[in-house]
Amino acid sequence: MDEQIDRRDAEAGDAIGDLVTGTMSRDDFIRRMTVLGFSATAIGGMLAGAGVAGAATDRRFAGQTVSILVAAEGDEKGVQDKIPEIKKRFGIDVKMTALPVGPLNEKLSQNVKAPTSSFDAIMVLGFTVSAFVGGGFFDPLNKYVKTKAPKGYDFPHDFPAGELQYVGYYDVKHQRFGGNTLYLIPGLHGGSVVLYYRKDLFAKAGLRPPTSWGAYLNAAKKLNTGGVAGNSMIAKSGDVSMFLCDWYTRFVNMGGILMSGSPQTKNYRPRLTSPAAVAALQHMVECVKYASPGVLSYDFTVSTNAFSAGQTAMMMIWSTIAGPVYNPKTSKVANKTGVAVPPGKGQAVRGGWGMGIPKNAKAENKDAAWTVIAYLTSKEWERYQTLKYQTDPTRNSTFFSPAMNAKLPYLSTAGKVFQKARILEIASIPETFELITDAAVEFSAALNGSATAAQACKKANDKWISVLKRGGHLK
């Protein structure tokens, strides 16, 4: 009898695994569990645990077409996979346009300013929330989450508070993150910066993942052998990830504060000449000595490829590179890679996207658009997407799920960093990208030796002042 129960539990466990990974549909799962003799209550509990409890078929919008604009950062694959499921479950035809960040922002800008938006739901990058949500171009979603959220949606409890503040709530009147009006639902992926390192090389050298920036530099020095670079970074001139991943992670963990004053009081002043700012850049300059000779042209893709090819011992980078790095088909170091929180306070910049409904979307499509958003930001879709494509989730239940961590061991570390990640101070003004790019251009001068760290920081600081003055954030 016990043996029978064990077998039944084992089969149920396998089915839950299949359900979570999307191999088995919700209907098939219910049928299978019924055959195994589980009660309706037990099946309901399992569905809730697997994050698909709210997958009730709501066909009120059957026959409608919802056009969505999403980022082509891996999210589009999971969306594409599930378009038939959305059709089957809700009867809604989803027309997806997927674009890289730059073109997406251009398209978003054109659409929200047109008389009628071509898209019923749009993904918004955190750094552009102030420009687009702050511009009053999105509908509040409070009434939707209050009255139309599917069962088991678990909003807001399942989302890190910081992420909700960043790509969820916005105070349009005072032009700042937070407040009580919800404009976006965090998703379709989040992310922050973690330390990727080679477990085998660290073990061989008798090192542990660094917990201070001094230890980071020492490890880079020690691990810098002929075939492998001691460390790496995104050092390509003007690359925003250089500023966000490499410089800002050092800066915040060295105790840096980026700005003083506030845009509202028009005394918003950069602190790029502060000791922490210069020290962070100087640390990068030191690290270049123990990096690949070509590191100064490394962008996100080249850095990821070099790490996957086994040419890098460690690097700070967006946690979302786990997909290619942990995939044995694209990585030589899939089984040798470890993930750790950034040295120091374990803090990094907050990344992520939110999905919302433009104010000028067709009125008759808005409820259907919400149904699609609710599905694409559900536990069910997020788990499917994370397991299949390893983009970073936004929900706590995905980051810290034991079942998910058994398959993707880096998740809980990424989740820890994500939970306490910091919103970039300048993300609340529309000039964010310009400021980051300007700093990344000046910082590259220090990295290639044509300026000292202090000179580069001073130049970046001066540029920021002129941009902030032009934008009316500084008198």
Partner: protein, 309 residues
């Protein structure tokens, strides 16, 4: 019915109308072209001129009149002058290399060598590629870790070169890549003209005892001048507005060492949504290009008049 001498005079003066032509026909024939020009050339030109005197507020989605502020900012920005210098260097050096090499190749292939037709075909392949693909392809070739070029340099003991990461090398890398792609264009134009040159002139030169060098310098090159000038002007306009190669290869870096005016306009307009400033940059480009081309054509005209006189 034959046209009279008076009709011919009117036709020559450009004010004539054929007897069968009505106002409707004129509108029908010229209308689409006029509408097209108005919609896609005149309207954007006027709008961007107006925008260059305004500043856009993303949050309020509104435009504010700032007068000459954008132009003043440009002129007082040291970065702008670096960008102008990069653009001029890329245009002048790049086009000079392309004209010299393209003409030399045309003269070489005019020798009717065996197998020349096959080599000619291969030679023009680079210009069939889009510049963004060329940029990405060369980025792979110049990759510091697995790029072919650095591998060769390491094998012969020169060591790695920061083709794209060294600020003193990156712009010259751009010139080389641009020349690789566009020398074939000059070659095709000059070679086509070369094929059409009257052979009697060269035969007369040979009879008079002129050497190959003398025939080339005193006969071929002067006769080729219109084609060379055409190719140079065409390439100069194209090089002056280089964007995609920079975007694919260097993204304007390191620092601003390879940023061109087009790239700066793109960055300000589409990445920073600083549309007024971007329009001002574009207008500076339009004015500079108009002055440059007018001067160039004036020089060519003067030289042609001198030649005919």
């Amino acid at each position: 019915m034959a046209a009279t001498a008076g009709d011919a005079g009117r036709i020559r003066s450009g004010r004539a109308r054929l007897p069968t032509q009505g106002r409707g026909e004129v509108l029908l024939l010229l209308g689409p072209c006029a509408v097209y020009l108005a919609a896609f050339s005149i309207f954007p030109l006027v709008t961007s001129l107006v925008r260059s005197f305004q500043d856009y507020n993303t949050q309020a989605d509104s435009w504010r009149w700032v007068g000459l502020d954008n132009y003043s900012q440009l002129i007082h920005s040291s970065e702008f002058w670096t960008v102008v210098e990069n653009t001029v260097l890329l245009t002048v050096v790049g086009v000079t290399i392309q004209v010299v090499l393209g003409t030399a190749l045309a003269l070489f292939f005019n020798q009717q060598l065996r197998g020349a037709s096959i080599v000619r075909g291969i030679l023009i392949l680079p210009m069939l590629l889009t510049p963004i693909v060329v940029g990405l392809m060369w980025r792979a070739l110049l990759d510091p870790n697995w790029g072919l070029l650095n591998w060769i340099f390491v094998q012969i003991g020169v060591g790695q070169v920061g083709w794209l990461s060294d600020p003193s090398v990156a712009l010259w890398t751009l010139v080389v890549v641009d020349s690789w792609q566009w020398t074939p264009f000059v070659f095709v134009i000059v070679y086509a003209r070369l094929q059409a040159l009257p052979q009697e002139v060269f035969e007369a030169g040979s009879v008079d005892g002129a050497s190959w060098f003398q025939r080339t310098v005193y006969l071929t090159l002067p006769l080729l001048a219109p084609a060379i000038v055409f190719a140079a002007v065409f390439r100069a306009i194209d090089a002056f507005r280089t964007f995609d190669l920079v975007y694919g290869l260097t993204n304007g870096g390191p620092g601003t060492s390879t940023t061109t005016l087009s790239f700066q306009a793109f960055q300000n307009g589409f990445e920073f949504q600083h549309y007024g400033y971007a329009s001002a940059i574009s207008y500076v480009m339009v004015i500079a290009a108009a002055i440059g081309i007018t001067l160039l054509f004036k020089v060519v005209k003067v030289r042609r008049l001198e030649t005919t006189a």
